[in-house]
């Protein structure tokens, strides 16, 4: 029984390898239709799958593979020309094979679905009988294939895999070690088949760039290859890496102990000789460990080619369906990076490429008009630099129209007009990464759904990478993705706060700020929220001790003034914020260790690590901290698992119409439409003073005006043409006007309110509207605060 399973697993692994190759080979074949080597290789690939299927009792897979083989056989024998249509239908067959193989991997059996239709269309194509119906079949199934592809590419489903997590190995086709393609060619079915075997073609080394194994050539190479590489279980590798990680930690501890002993020894002169011998050994252990670590890390390294190999097919299909002509040029495909990272960047990269094809590269006609070659170029380049991997994805398409991005962002209420005017080109371009912004005029089935680039960015940042974009209108766009080589060991800044050690991944650290007592600048408090003016820009300040309930109450106003303050400026997605800690010590390379499930509910925690002195330090999740501090637009999660004193707790969800407005340019408030009487704009010059209050004549009455900005301590944004927006509230036929910065929009949104524990007067809580965190105004309370007694007056 186990033997059988083994055979099946072996087969699946080989199949996956073969299929991966097929996509690429077909695309290549389309370019060089008369390349017999390529055709031969494809034929053998399919043939092997078919042959082994019969042997393992997989009739559906065999059926499809057989159909494809028949066409290939006709093509190879010259009975049929290699056409684009032919390749399309063969690629469909490959997709079907992929689907079946995938199903077998997951469940151990073939899917229930019938593949007779697929086989039939293959046969129909072969006989060439129903040429007129062919077109239909093709487009329809092409759509299906595309859809399937898109499902497969769903960018949001990138598994949030931690580096330290041991991965399941068996069913993952990508867990395959590449060098075994030779074995594949020699699968038993190949020789025992009744079909005529492809004649060995003369090796043509120049033509091998696609990696197409040519039988004669590979026969020669085979013994060497088979001896120089073995298939290794990924689980075993992970274990090895974990152990090396531990060794590194033990080494660090040893070094520390030796150093402290050295210090002791320097006081007594006697045992100097003993020490020097010891030191030699320790140094050797140190060196060997470092080398071992580097080497073991390399075992997890895979060339980026592994994921790039899929792109020719993606590009071909997309180009074909959008009527564009695109050349895919890849450089540096041999650049290696950690397997986990490789998997993590696969979907973001695919997304960027699809974007480039869909929105970037123009149709041939418009390219011609602009004096560009009709064929667009998509250029991928990967290289190592400074211990990181750089990936460039550039196209020579239309580029991004910054003005259009701004307009779009304006119309979606993501930015205000003033901001749009002041915005730099780079900032405007970066709006692309804003959730809910899609500049495609036409929403295609490929992209333009408005989710995408923000997810790309988030996912890249999750693995400690960065994404930059540059674009020149009419010339093209370039994306630069920079990611670390590995995630198992990360550089981190060690700090301590509330007496406990913490590690902050260096990737999220922007800078460190130290405020001493004499410093003129200090942290300013606005209604319980703290800010610091960092080069003129307000930086929200959080304190780790407050957030985590640690002892040192540094946020007490006196404390801030009484002693120095360490602020780490951190970035969490689009936001940056300052985090106050007690002590900042040093940067260190740390090994991320997983935590027990019971602690996974703590969003501020990314893991733990062991320090040189053997203590355990907690690794902070910067994103989680930002969320806990209410800084992120993303949904706030429970910071802890405390039940009675929840920091956030959610009330019921209802759908409500709300007026969105801002006071300064950076904030957003909402008030339920039902609570307000009117929205007005008043001329500033008409404002009069009456008993110390701003008033204005409004409908034959004096309307008291209160400025929301003054009450909450925010500078009200300047308005043009001296007109100020006012929200008029009426209670018992008395009205009051609240001056705001700008009325943004009226929206109908789910009222998914997060109540804040540090209840700010006049604010009920915060909600997320269109992905932006918005404060919900408690209007009655607010008015009661700024005009005490008014509410009582009117209710009398």
């Amino acid at each position: 029984m186990e033997d059988e399973d083994d055979i099946l697993n072996e087969f699946l692994v080989e199949c996956s390898e073969g299929i991966e190759q097929l996509d690429q080979e077909f695309v290549e074949l389309e370019k060089n239709t008369d390349d017999p080597n390529l055709l031969g290789s494809i034929f053998r690939n399919i043939h092997t799958i078919k042959g082994t299927c019969g042997f393992l009792g997989l009739p559906k897979l065999e059926n499809v593979a057989h159909g494809a083989e028949n066409i290939l056989s006709a093509m190879r024998d010259g009975d049929m020309a290699v056409t684009s249509d032919g390749i399309t239908i063969l690629l469909e067959a490959v997709d079907a094979i992929k689907e079946i193989v995938h199903h077998i991997e997951e469940t151990g059996s073939e899917p229930d679905k019938s593949y007779d239709a697929m086989r039939q269309s293959l046969d129909v194509f072969l006989s060439g009988a129903a040429t007129e119906s062919k077109g239909d079949t093709t487009t329809e199934s092409e759509a299906v294939a595309l859809e399937a592809m898109m499902e497969g590419l769903d960018i949001e489903e990138i598994p949030e895999k931690d580096s330290h997590e041991t991965e399941t190995i068996a069913p993952e086709p990508s867990a395959v070690i590449e060098s075994l393609e030779e074995e594949f060619l020699n699968a038993p079915a190949f020789n025992t088949s009744p079909e005529p075997v492809a004649e060995p073609v003369s090796p043509d080394p120049d033509n091998e760039k696609v990696d197409a194994p040519v039988s004669a050539a590979s026969d020669k190479k085979k013994p060497a290859l088979a001896e120089s590489s073995i298939r290794v279980d990924v689980g075993l590798l992970d274990k090895l890496i974990n152990m090396v990680g531990e060794l590194v930690l033990a080494r660090n501890q040893l070094l520390q102990q030796v150093r402290s002993r050295e210090d002791d020894a320097s006081n007594s002169t006697n045992n100097g000789t003993v020490n020097s011998t010891n030191n030699g050994t320790v140094q050797q252990i140190d060196h060997i460990t470092t080398e071992l670590q580097d080497t073991v890390m390399k075992t997890r390294m895979q060339p980026i080619k592994k994921i790039w190999d899929k792109f020719p097919r993606v590009v071909r299909d997309l180009a074909k369906s959008s009527g564009k002509e695109i050349d895919l040029v890849m450089e540096g495909a041999e650049t290696e990076l950690d397997k986990t990272l490789l998997e993590a960047i696969k979907d973001p990269m695919t997304h960027i490429i699809r974007n480039a094809i869909d929105h970037g590269i123009e149709l041939p006609e418009s390219r011609k008009e602009r004096g560009k070659p009709e064929k667009g170029t998509l250029f991928l380049k990967a290289y190592h630099e400074g211990g990181r991997i750089n990936i460039e994805i550039s196209d020579d398409g239309g580029g991004i129209d910054v003005e259009r991005v701004k307009t779009k962002a304006l119309s979606k209420g993501l930015i205000t007009e003033e901001i749009a005017e002041k915005m730099s080109q780079v900032d405007a371009l970066n709006l692309i990464f804003h959730p809910g912004l899609s500049t495609a005029e036409k929403v295609t089935n490929v992209s333009g759904r408005g989710v995408g680039m923000d997810v790309v960015k988030t996912n890249i940042e999750k693995i400690g990478g960065t994404v930059r974009m540059s674009s020149r209108l009419g010339k093209g766009t370039q994306m630069n993705v920079e990611i670390p080589l590995t995630v198992a060991i990360i550089p981190a800044l060690m700090v301590s706060s509330g007496g406990a050690p913490f590690a902050i991944p260096q990737a999220s650290l922007i800078e460190l700020v130290r405020l001493d007592n004499e410093s003129l600048q200090h942290i300013e408090m606005v209604r319980g929220s703290n800010f610091y003016r960092l080069r003129g820009v307000l930086l929200p300040i959080l304190s780790i001790n407050t957030l985590l309930g640690l002892e040192d109450e540094i946020l007490e106003d006196e404390d801030i003034h009484s002693k120095g303050t360490n602020i780490m400026v951190l970035k969490a997605g689009r936001n940056s914020f300052g985090l106050i800690v007690d002590l900042i010590s040093d940067t260190e390379e740390i090994v991320v260790k997983p935590l027990n499930k019971q602690l996974s509910g703590l969003s501020y925690l990314a893991g733990a690590t062991i320090l040189g002195d053997g203590r355990v330090a907690l690794i902070l999740d910067v994103m989680g901290i930002a969320e806990a501090g209410g800084l992120s637009g993303a949904a706030h999660e429970n910071l802890g698992m405390r039940s009675e004193d929840d920091i956030w707790h959610e009330s019921d969800t209802t759908i409500v119409s709300m007026v969105l407005f801002s006071v300064s340019s950076e904030d957003r408030y909402a008030v339920p439409l039902a609570e307000i009487a009117r929205l007005e704009e008043f001329d500033v010059t008409k404002i009069e003073q009456a008993s110390g209050q701003d008033v204005i004549q409004y409908r034959d009455e004096l309307l008291t005006l209160v400025r929301l900005g003054d009450a909450i301590g925010v500078v009200t944004a300047e308005t043009e043409n001296d007109r100020i927006p006012v929200i008029v509230f009426t209670r018992n036929e008395h009205s009051i006007g609240v001056v705001v910065g700008k009325i943004i929009d009226i929206v109908t949104s789910e009222m998914h309110l997060h109540l804040s524990p540090m209840k700010k007067t006049g604010i009920k809580g915060s909600l997320v509207i269109d992905g932006i965190s918005t404060e919900l105004l408690d209007i009655d309370q607010f008015i009661d605060t700024v005009v005490p007694g008014w509410m009582d007056e009117v209710t009398v």
Binding site: A500, L599, V616, M641
Partner: protein
Amino acid sequence: MSDTSDENGTSVQDPRLETKRQYATFYLADHFLGVEVDTVQEVFKAKPMTAVPLAPQTISGLINLRGHIIMTIDLRKRLGFKARAEEEKPMSIVVRTSEGLVNMLVDQIGDVIHVLPELFESPPTTLDPQLSETLEGVYKLEDQLLLALSTERIIQVI
């Protein structure tokens, strides 16, 4: 160690069906408790640990056990006993569970003892549920009761 449950092929689920079991015993607020000896990896004097802010109360923190980071559960808190006095230094029992190693803080370590299946009884219904839900059952030893803990249940929903 030779008389493990597997020899007569009985289920581990129901201790009554087994001939003899070995328990690593310990004391907790004057109670006599035990976990199956097979689950125990090691025992040592509790060492300093890193507290995890905002974690459930029963989780005292994380320790470094030769490069492994292990969660520590204070059994007193977990089972609903009153907290240990400051000056009392707890002992650590590291047990293997389905979720990896877990360190349990107890007051004092006892012997490894053999218990006979006929002494076994399900947890009395009158027990505090916080305690009884973590018990496999009770062994009625001659001089005292041995509360047989289930490590799996201890690590559940804390």
